[in-house]
Amino acid sequence: MNPTLVRWLQAPSIIVLFLWMIVPLSMTIYFSTIRYNLLYPERTGFIGLQNYEFFWTDPSFFPALLNTLVLVGSVLVITVVLGLAVSILIDRPFRGRGIVRVMLISPFFIMPTVSALIWKNMLMDPNNGLFAFFANVIGATPIEWLQDMPLASIIIMVSWQWTPFAILIFMTSLQSQDQEQKEAATLDGAGFWSQFRHLTLPHLARPISIVILIQMIFHLAIFAEIFVTTGGGPGVQSTNLTYLIYIQSQQAFDVGVASAGGVFAIILANIVAIFLIRAVGKTLTV
């Protein structure tokens, strides 16, 4: 293909995404340097970095930062490992595979607020929930999920929703794995683990990095699950950066501080991305 054509084919996506990035981003940066509270329209003017300082000095800022990272990291590990295991498990033909596939992917179809409501009220509730019921049946004390392990509970909910995403991507990619190579390896007496390490894992390297990168973007901005279940608490145990921004944006209606928070979120996301690219991104273009 000639280089001009390549450029023309790539241009539309790059141009629209550039606009989509630069317009809101420059507005956000502008808002972050002015006094701008929706509830006080008469207060205006440039205030430099005061909005940033306010957001930065919030005692909840560092715990929220840490929670954000823990949330992203744990969900990534859980979904990738589970996703790999499950998609390899269903990578052979068997009766009812179609149904099994749909059942496995279904959690991804559920809206985050709805999934949070189901988990909070029908499953994890220490009085009326199913988990508590089963705990009582076997004579154990029900776990007070959202009170004693709020962040872990949210990790469980998010992982339930996103493992299907990993399964979907891995499952499709496994279809293109060279079956002859696998059969040859089996004949040579290579065991499951050796095949997994030397054939499957390299084959899935790119899909894995893609799953990690995409999920990272979504999980840095997890909101609905926290909003519906714990409200960020107890204390700030399940508050993430997005939730802090939400409080400034939709409760204090302070667009200035919320924009400053948004800029922090971009910076954090880019730092995380740089590390991830080091770790997994290089497999992208292999």
């Binding site: 996506s13 989509w20 293109s176 973007i217």
Partner: protein, 276 residues
């Protein structure tokens, strides 16, 4: 036990394990659907009721209160429209990048992904103002554009992955025959990557379908989607688990049915072992 028997047994165990995992994953959804046929009193009963006299009263009430069809149509139009627009822009680009990977390809992809890093709640006001100023507020067109842009980086990245899995030799052979780029995409790449495109489209549709921030902030009545439909039943004063289960069942049903139909497409194609 012979090797064959052992192999057979192993397969059996794997199948049983697959079913168990699938049931575990599906259970919360099953429970939601079951709850939607209970009364509010039954929904909170302990021990939980597995056998009960099902009622349709939740569904009747939803029917009385809202226009489900309107919300569903808006969801279908915006989710499919946004996905189609994203694919239209992404397929040529991803194709160009996958088969002409250059020094900057990875960086461009990473940059594209980085456009998604600004949390929605942080750019609420800029987008809201733009929507008002352009007069697109509360139109389906606006949601289609937003959804397409929102999902474009992801669609790019996933398509790129599937295109990269197509062996280059196939393309080179066709180029020797003098096939035009258009025909190359249409006749060779698309059929081979069909499964990948289908699963990318499905992912994008799901993401649009469940998008609950912009669809609520940027619509009032004309363009409201099923997420607004769910919001109108979510967390009222009083017991609402059975009703919200019914609403969620209705909100998710079209996409689950669609996924069911689409899943065959997902795994077709991308089987080039034989071609190689």
């Amino acid at each position: 036990m012979t090797d064959k028997q052992r192999e057979h047994l192993k397969n059996r165990i794997a199948v049983v394990a697959a079913w168990i995992v699938a049931c575990l994953f599906f259970f919360p959804i099953f429970w939601m659907v079951l709850t939607s046929f209970k009364t509010e009193g039954q929904a909170i009963a302990i021990p939980p009721l597995l056998v009960f006299e099902p009622t349709l009263e939740n569904y009747t009430e939803i029917q009385e209160r809202t226009n489900y069809t309107k919300f569903a149509i808006n969801s279908i139009v915006t989710a499919f429209g946004g996905t189609a627009l994203a694919l239209l822009i992404a397929i040529p680009s991803a194709y160009a990048m996958a088969f002409n990977t250059g020094r900057w390809t990875k960086d461009i992809l990473m940059w594209m992904l980085s456009t998604k890093m600004l949390p929605a709640v942080g750019v609420l006001m800029p987008i809201y103002f733009l929507a008002q100023k352009t007069g697109l507020y509360d139109t389906k067109g606006l949601l289609v554009i937003i959804y397409a842009l929102m999902n474009l980086p992801i669609v790019m990245l996933i398509l790129f992955n599937y295109f990269r899995e197509i062996p280059k030799e196939i393309l080179e052979a066709s180029r020797m025959d003098g096939t035009s780029t258009y025909n190359e995409i249409r006749q060779i790449v698309m059929p081979l990557a069909w499964g990948g495109i289908a699963s990318t489209a499905l992912l994008s549709i799901i993401l649009c379908w469940n998008e609950a921030f912009w669809s609520i902030v940027l619509t009032t009545t004309d363009a409201s989607t099923l997420t607004a439909f769910v919001a109108s039943f979510q967390a009222p004063e009083g017991l609402f688990w059975a009703k919200v289960s019914a609403v969620s069942t209705l909100a998710c049903a079209p996409i689950v049915v669609f996924g069911w139909l689409a899943q065959k497409q997902l795994v077709q194609g991308l089987t080039f072992g034989a071609v190689k």
